[in-house]
């Protein structure tokens, strides 16, 4: 009997140990990260999207597959790459010590000169292509100048003198440029809407119709376009923004490609932060056997794109309009 009891004691103690370890040691399961692999896509702005579905007023063709008007981006004359924002920073920076102010005043002078210099944009914009070899060398130097100025504002005035010397040494550079490019452009402004064209590294001389879907003239909208108004209202713009963001989270189930009659209407509510309240609900149903999987993939998309870690980004001033959202998920035309 004693033997039996020792066995029981050993076994009970071991089990108690294992259970205690399980309760204490096993912390709660880690949740899956809902973030999906991001895929680089071309971003459509709301107005572009509307243009896509509603088309051009002047066009008379109606087609199922919309065509985007291709613009010759090469024809766009981008503003020169600005020393301008840097110059702004300098101006804004409060110059508390009078010495620093003195230092700063001469500096804006060289920068406007730089700005005046570049009438032919390509060489300035794309120094890597090195169409004009001499240009790149002077370009970096003026770009460096603002940094030391910041330091001047922050740091002791002892370094000011050295910097002034440097500035003086650098000043000889700009005049060279002026000699090279004589026709001046007045006051370059930093236009944020032109960033895209400035970043664009593609060949500015490329042909307009690169993709087969592009046409020189847009169609008069698509035959199944749903927007009721031609004008881009606030509501449709919001709808487009929501759709744009949710579709990025959405991976339609395999096998539904091309099933264009599938449509899932999902309703959900959002906090002002763009976070989901409660659960999204599905409205209506369909006899299509693929519908359930399709609708669930749409609900998953709503769920995963409205988490606190990844909220919907919508203009907060229109919260009343997007507090409660009813959205149709449809497959894009293949």
């Amino acid at each position: 009997m004693t033997k039996q009891r020792t066995g029981m004691v050993v076994s009970s103690v071991a089990h108690a140990g294992v259970i205690a370890y399980a309760v204490i040691g096993f912390t709660t399961a880690k949740p899956f990260d809902p973030t999906l692999e991001s895929v680089a896509v071309e971003v459509l702005s709301p107005s572009e999207y509307d243009a896509l579905t509603k088309g051009d007023r002047t066009s008379k063709k109606v087609e199922n597959t919309p065509k985007v008007e291709a613009k010759k981006i090469a024809a766009v004359t981008p503003e020169p790459r600005p020393a301008a924002p840097e110059a702004k920073e300098n101006v804004d920076a409060p110059p508390p010590p009078p010495d620093a102010a003195k230092v700063e005043t001469p500096e804006p002078k060289p920068e406007p000169k730089k700005a005046e210099t570049p009438p032919p944009e390509p060489p300035k914009e794309e120094p890597k292509k090195a169409e004009t070899p001499p240009v790149p060398t002077p370009a970096p130097k003026p770009a460096e100048t603002p940094k030391p100025e910041k330091k001047v504002d922050e740091k002791s005035q002892a370094k000011l003198d050295d910097l002034i010397k440097k500035e003086v040494e650098k000043k000889p550079d700009p005049p060279k440029k002026v000699e090279k490019k004589p026709d001046p452009k007045p006051q370059p402004k930093f236009d944020p809407s032109k960033i895209a064209t400035m970043i664009d590294k593609r060949d500015p001389g490329r042909v307009a119709q690169a993709a087969p879907q592009m046409a020189s003239i847009t169609t008069a909208g698509i035959s199944n376009g749903q927007a009721s108004q031609l004008a881009l209202t606030r509501a449709t713009m919001l709808g487009n923004m929501i759709r744009e963001q949710l579709y990025q989270c959405w991976s339609p189930p395999v096998g539904t490609q091309g099933m264009r009659d599938l449509m899932a209407t999902i309703q959900f509510e959002l906090t002002p932060q763009g976070v989901l309240i409660g659960q999204p609900s599905l409205q209506g149903s369909s006899a299509n056997p693929a519908f359930q999987a399709f609708a669930e993939s749409a609900m998953r998309a709503v769920n995963s794109c409205t988490q606190p870690t990844r909220p919907l980004r919508l203009p907060p001033e229109d919260y009343n309009l997007w507090k409660s959202v009813i959205l149709d998920f449809k497959l894009p035309d293949a």
């Binding site: 033997k3 039996q4 020792t6 066995g7 029981m8 050993v10 076994s11 009970s12 071991a14 089990h15 259970i19 399980a22 309760v23 096993f26 912390t27 709660t28 399961a29 949740p31 509510e269 906090t271 002002p272 932060q273 976070v275 989901l276 309240i277 409660g278 659960q279 669930e296 609900m299 769920n303 988490q307 606190p308 507090k323």
Partner: protein, 239 residues
């Protein structure tokens, strides 16, 4: 809508205690009972496993030691006098039982010698049976837990999944967040069943082979010993 409240709502939907303790507490009553039963049976199995391991090791040692002494040429009378007063098991028990029968037959003046050989064999058989019973005791528990444990756990799982499907039907929501906790709970029951059953099966197989090995050894000894005794009987009656 107050964002703080909304945040809480989201948290309430997604927050489920998924620790092992949480899984147990949230389970339905039937599933809970099954889990408790499986844990208890696991404790019992391991108690048996520990006991049997110790018992078999001791029995093997005992047999080794006894065989060494028995074949060392020591007088059987002397050996019997040493072993008889103490409670014995396995091989010594066989020896003591056979010797006692032998002694009793010759103490009475050698009258009951005719069927002594038969009696000794009977005694040896009975003793072997008793010893084997002792060795095999409670092994069936291991066998039962090993074969029934997974089924019991599976029953808990089926029950848990049933209830979680009922809750799906009730809430009319098929999102994975609603289904998953119930299924995790349910699967926990199967996990416990397997935890109890796997060692039980392994050790049952090990122990039953051990028992049959020791039984063979006991039978071999019994045969040898009865041969020795039968020679002695023939020598004594013949002389």
């Amino acid at each position: 809508m107050d964002p703080a409240i909304a945040q809480q709502g989201v948290a309430a939907v997604t927050a489920h205690d998924l620790s092992l303790w949480g899984l147990f507490i949230q389970a339905a009553l039937v599933v809970k009972l099954i889990m408790i039963g499986l844990v208890v049976s696991s404790v019992w199995c391991w108690a048996i496993i520990v006991d049997k391991t110790v018992l078999y090791a001791r029995t093997r040692r005992q047999m080794d030691r006894f065989e060494k002494v028995f074949w060392s040429g020591q007088s059987l009378e002397e050996l019997y006098r040493n072993l008889a007063p103490r409670p014995t098991s396995s091989m010594p028990a066989l020896f003591v039982a056979a010797m006692r029968e032998w002694k009793r037959s010759f103490e009475g003046g050698g009258k009951a010698v005719a069927s002594l050989q038969m009696r000794i064999e009977k005694v040896l058989d009975v003793t072997i049976q008793r010893e084997l019973e002792r060795l095999e005791a409670r092994l069936l528990v291991l066998a039962t837990v090993g074969s029934a444990g997974p089924f019991v756990g599976l029953f808990g799982t089926v029950w848990g999944i049933m209830t979680s499907f009922q809750s799906i039907a009730a809430s009319k929501n098929t999102s994975l967040a609603v289904v998953a906790p119930g299924i995790a709970e349910a699967l926990f029951a199967t996990a416990l069943g397997l935890v109890a059953a796997i060692p039980a099966t392994i050790f049952y197989n090990k122990f039953s082979s051990e028992v049959s090995k020791q039984a063979n050894r006991l039978e071999g000894f019994a045969d040898e010993f009865s041969a020795i005794l039968s020679r002695q009987i023939d020598e004594r009656t013949g002389s």
